[in-house]
Subunit: 511 residues, 2 copies
């Protein structure tokens, strides 16, 4: 990136302060624009650098060093506009470029320009999503996009209901609350006292920890969130689910909620929805599908089945466009097949906020059906992105990510001396070990896995210090540390995959 | 605002599509910049119009009409860059200008240019706040600003802990969860079964509904969130709190949590913290101060006391910079006097996400102490704004809002025939009735209040249809609909207050 000293405001504007521009000085439109245009220069340069493979992903410094490189202090008297411009440039200089084509580190990678443009507009509009009164266009967009997403889940979902939430964990919480409310409508007022017996919920041992967190938050206790064993691919074993349900029923407990994960965090596994739905129907339990990660594949005719087959049988679905679809952070959605539940579950009848005698049809207001009261506008960036891509563009986007992952698997298999593929992935999560020279002749065994696991943090540290590549690693229940590569950025090409593998070898061969 | 047809991309760029720009075409930097610069033109024009008192606040249309004015459809094939630019301009044309100086409608008004600039940068950086690994600068900023805010709450808070949450309701939920965890550490695993007796919480009948919502979410049931009566100013009556505690204790219940509101939503009232703290100490209960709304006044030497006197005695404090301080939506904070509670309460030991063997000091990672997992970056816009204003600038900002409110009260009192002041406000909430000509001679009585209440929705509708003014109204337990004016925008001047009162008279005198 350009040196931060390149960003100089004009001599007339630089020394000015916040109260020399809008809204303080009404005649300061051009000064305000000068300041904002200078910021835009910095942002455009960051966008350019993010998309330049010759630029580093990050310039790593330990927290103590980083603090010395930055001036983060809150001053008594405010700093000048020039200093703010300098602060912005410095911030981006040391920020990790999560949109860089060699950033394979998170479930959310990439920098979608259209979605980013949407978020700039969202910031400028700076409104709250609780009423049509102050967010008319955005509320209508939310209706259009949420209906479209429900149509994609299944034709029987069109008349359901949806809401955007601040992240998949809160979306899952919404599903839990709606399920409890549907089955025990008095719970809202009376609480636990309304039920004879312990509520129990079920999720796979590979599921996102937010499901277990629901049990903690909502008073069940994590001991009553049962972790159903998964098979070797990371998919919930339906017979184990049924066994655990019967076990708890025998104790007089009340199994009421099953979370089926479509795209697990580490392995990208898809629980078998149809088999789990059969069990939920048999025992009268709520079926929630946590497709926060895998939901994007609903947009692909080629990859939707068999992974998400049966999703239309669920009662609720979490689906995060900020993951596979590349919408800017945050953009998470929760969908319900049944309309009216969100409102009856969450409404606190705050008539002092959500008046019933308004100018317009108050069914468009959303404030009373959410647990946050005010909500950030997370819809515009997604709507604009979907307008840009269309359904067809999003399908191509999903297919591209899957094809790049397939290419990576192929390239790993082509080099069995250097890489060990842990399993054939169902999604864009590719799990593998890199094998340094000294371990290449060793037969694969638990001993070698342990050695390979020890390499992961060291190789990751080398990547970050080189600044050329970022790939995540973690242990799981079956094995020590291993790399989990994620291709969720539309920027990734075959040559980036080739680079990734070559760079790991360059940085790690001598380990 | 300028006509949307003014925003034409060049003939070469306009027909292009999303996949003709970055990251799809690596050689398309200048085309990408052209598109983004055109968007910036639109945004700058919206900023200009927001700050121009000759521009309308909104162009109101009912939902059905609005749908006809907009093309919101998700297409099969994506639209052109030119169409996206048109979409952006149209969106803003029909959006309410919440930063307009005559928008007095919400607790969050105003458009702080520096905070907006910060949010543009945040969008461009597009990262997640869960680890230092991918948000190094932002994590350090969060530490600096949160520590500074705790210092302002009280010197004994410096070694506490804080987190930014998606809105005050979730911040209040964090407080509830920490309180329950502190008193009943087994609750996390065992749930309700760990406790002999019904948990009970208390909040004033004027408090935000999210407090009651906690009781619903967390399994107490809203019947066990007791609404403590308030005095005529809307302040919790401490003797009533104690009476209700003793009443529930007599039933064998376990009172454990009191929410004390600093700045109620409607009246802007401040519960007496010191007296409530005495009661909490006497009965061993957690004291939470919900200063989501009033917290900004902590920054003013003149207005902090007596309103927030005793806040340092609380166990937790919610404080939303996106309200009185004008940070862009959303920016909410929750602070704890005791360090470590957030982590022990919310940690689900997701070692697969938050590895313990990293390159850097993992105490800087925040992911494991929150309930959302991923978090939007809500700190940069606040940090940049605070750098710009300094403590001194924020103090002036708070004092200005209070002085404008005092001016409004004075102007209302100057015109007793046209306006009826309901009470002397403690904050920037000014509660009043507008009196149309035909009711000016009528002595004030319950009958007149009822008539005045009926006028509110009609006058509000006229404001929205004229597009010149927006002021909120609502009923409360003691009276029918009345206007609640909010001055939380730094743009408001005495002449805006004069305009507000004159415009209400112009629009409503014949009602």
């Amino acid at each position: 990136m350009a040196n931060t000293s390149n960003y100089k405001l004009s001599a007339a504007v630089g020394p000015l302060k916040y109260n020399d521009i809008l809204p303080y000085k009404t005649q300061s439109v051009s000064t305000t624009n000068d300041f904002l245009q200078k910021l835009i220069e910095i942002l455009l340069d960051f966008v350019r650098a993010t998309n330049d493979r010759n630029e580093k992903i990050l310039d790593f410094h330990h927290p103590e060093e980083m603090q010395k490189l930055l001036d983060l202090k809150i001053p008594d008297k405010g700093v000048s506009l020039q200093q703010l411009i300098h602060d912005c440039a410095t911030t981006l200089k040391y920020q990790v470029k999560t949109g860089h084509a060699r950033f394979f580190n998170q479930l959310s990678c990439g920098l979608d320009i259209i979605s980013m443009a949407g978020e700039w507009l969202t910031a400028t509009a700076n409104t709250n999503m609780f009423t049509y009164e102050i967010a008319p266009v955005f509320i209508l967009m939310e209706n259009v996009v949420m209906t479209h997403m429900r149509e994609i889940i299944g034709p029987n979902w069109v008349n359901g209901d949806s809401i955007l939430a601040p992240g998949g964990s809160i979306s899952n919480l919404y599903a839990f609350l709606a399920a409890r409310h549907k089955m025990f409508p008095n719970y809202k007022e009376k609480g636990i006292a309304t039920i004879q017996g312990q509520l129990v919920m079920f999720t796979s041992d590979q599921s996102h920890y937010s499901v277990k967190s629901c049990a903690s938050i909502c008073g069940l206790g994590t001991d009553n969130c049962l972790m159903v064993p998964s098979d070797i691919h990371g998919r919930m074993i339906p017979s184990e689910l049924e066994r655990l349900i019967l076990d708890r029923k025998a104790k007089g407990h009340i199994p009421f909620f099953v979370c089926c994960t479509s795209g697990t965090t580490v392995l990208g596994a898809f629980d078998p929805i149809n088999e789990i739905a059969d069990i939920c129907e048999k025992y009268g339990m709520w079926l929630h599908v946590d497709a926060a990660w895998g939901g994007g594949l609903l947009l692909s005719k080629k990859y939707r089945h068999p992974r998400l087959s049966g999703v239309e049988r669920a009662d609720s679905v979490t689906w995060n466009p900020h993951k596979l679809m590349g919408a800017l952070l945050q953009c998470s959605t929760i969908h319900f097949k049944e309309d009216g539940l969100l409102m009856s579950c969450n409404q606190m009848s705050a008539d002092y906020l959500f008046m019933q005698d308004k100018l317009y049809d108050i069914r468009y207001d959303t404030g009373d059906k959410v647990i946050q009261c005010g909500r950030h506008n997370d819809i515009f960036k997604l709507w604009l992105q979907w307008r840009a891509k269309g359904d067809e563009g999003f399908e191509k986007h999903m297919d591209h990510l899957m094809e790049m992952s397939e290419y990576m698997v192929k390239r790993i298999k082509d080099q069995p001396d250097k890489f060990y593929l842990i399993m054939e992935p169902e999604m864009v999560n590719v799990s593998f070990w890199y094998i340094p020279t000294r371990l290449r002749k060793m037969p694969h065994s638990a001993t070698r896995e342990k050695e390979l696991g020890k390499m992961c943090p060291i190789l990751k540290a080398r990547m970050m210090q080189a600044g050329t590549l970022m790939v995540g690693y973690q242990p799981d229940d079956r094995r020590p540390n291993f790399f989990r590569n994620i291709i969720s950025s539309a920027a990734v090409t075959q040559s980036d995959v080739d680079f990734l593998l070559a760079e790991m070898d360059r940085l790690g061969h001598d380990l």
